[in-house]
């Protein structure tokens, strides 16, 4: 089974801190995605990547950046954390042509105080 691993289950950070959320997948998937999930809003796409060193903005990229230096790792960076970035962050990956859609990580619940 494909595994998508997010490095932290819970994080508490202070306003203004730089925050790194890490995601690693073990099945050589080309596509990787970062979403945030908030009550009533569903999953909103922050950034995605189709290959190493490639990145594309999603629907809500403001305040975030990403890094994909290796195929298996996709990092989400909050340059200067703010309280409105308190959320559940979900990473997902897929191969280029898939029969089962996304494989998700377990999520990171980030609280910015």
């Amino acid at each position: 089974d494909v595994k998508v691993t997010q490095s932290s289950r819970y994080l508490v950070k202070r306003t203004g801190e730089k925050v790194f959320l890490e995601c690693v997948q073990d099945m050589d998937h080309e596509n990787m995605f970062w979403y945030r999930q908030d009550p009533g809003l569903g999953l909103r796409l922050i950034y995605f990547s189709y290959d190493v060193k490639m990145k594309e903005k999603g629907d809500i990229p403001e305040g975030y950046s990403v890094s994909r230096e290796k195929k298996e790792r996709f990092s989400l960076i909050l340059e200067s954390a703010s309280t409105n970035q308190t959320s559940m962050y979900l990473c997902a990956s897929t191969p280029p042509r898939t029969g089962t859609g996304y494989t998700f990580g377990s999520g990171t619940r980030l609280t910015v105080v």
Partner: protein
């Protein structure tokens, strides 16, 4: 602009009831429609639909896609308390709906 709209946003039923969850979509380069169930952790895969009119079934759950009208439904028959969850619909690639929160009461 791509969008996926689910309805209702919230639903409360009693055990044994049948429920129908709705999903309409407008997704560029649409490839498939996905349904996920989310309890406390990450969403878990239920169905992937690529062809119109072909029902997919898994136990008490079933789903069908209409590519002409751009919608899908997820049916759950004889609901149980363990069906309580958020059900997410996604137009692949990439767009998710807000989800339907289903609560099944004993």
């Amino acid at each position: 602009e791509d969008k996926v709209v689910q309805s209702p946003l919230s639903l409360v039923v009693h055990e044994g009831d049948t429920v129908t969850l709705n999903c309409s979509y407008e997704v560029t380069n649409f490839r498939s429609l996905l349904w996920y169930k989310q309890e406390k952790k990450a969403p878990t895969f239920l169905f992937m639909l690529t062809s119109s009119g072909i029902e997919k079934k898994s136990g008490r759950l079933s789903s069908i896609l209409d590519k002409k009208e751009l919608f899908s439904i997820l049916n759950i028959t004889a609901t149980q308390t363990g069906d309580s969850a958020i059900y997410l619909c996604a137009g692949f690639p990439m767009r998710f709906g807000a989800g339907t929160r289903l609560t099944v009461k004993p």
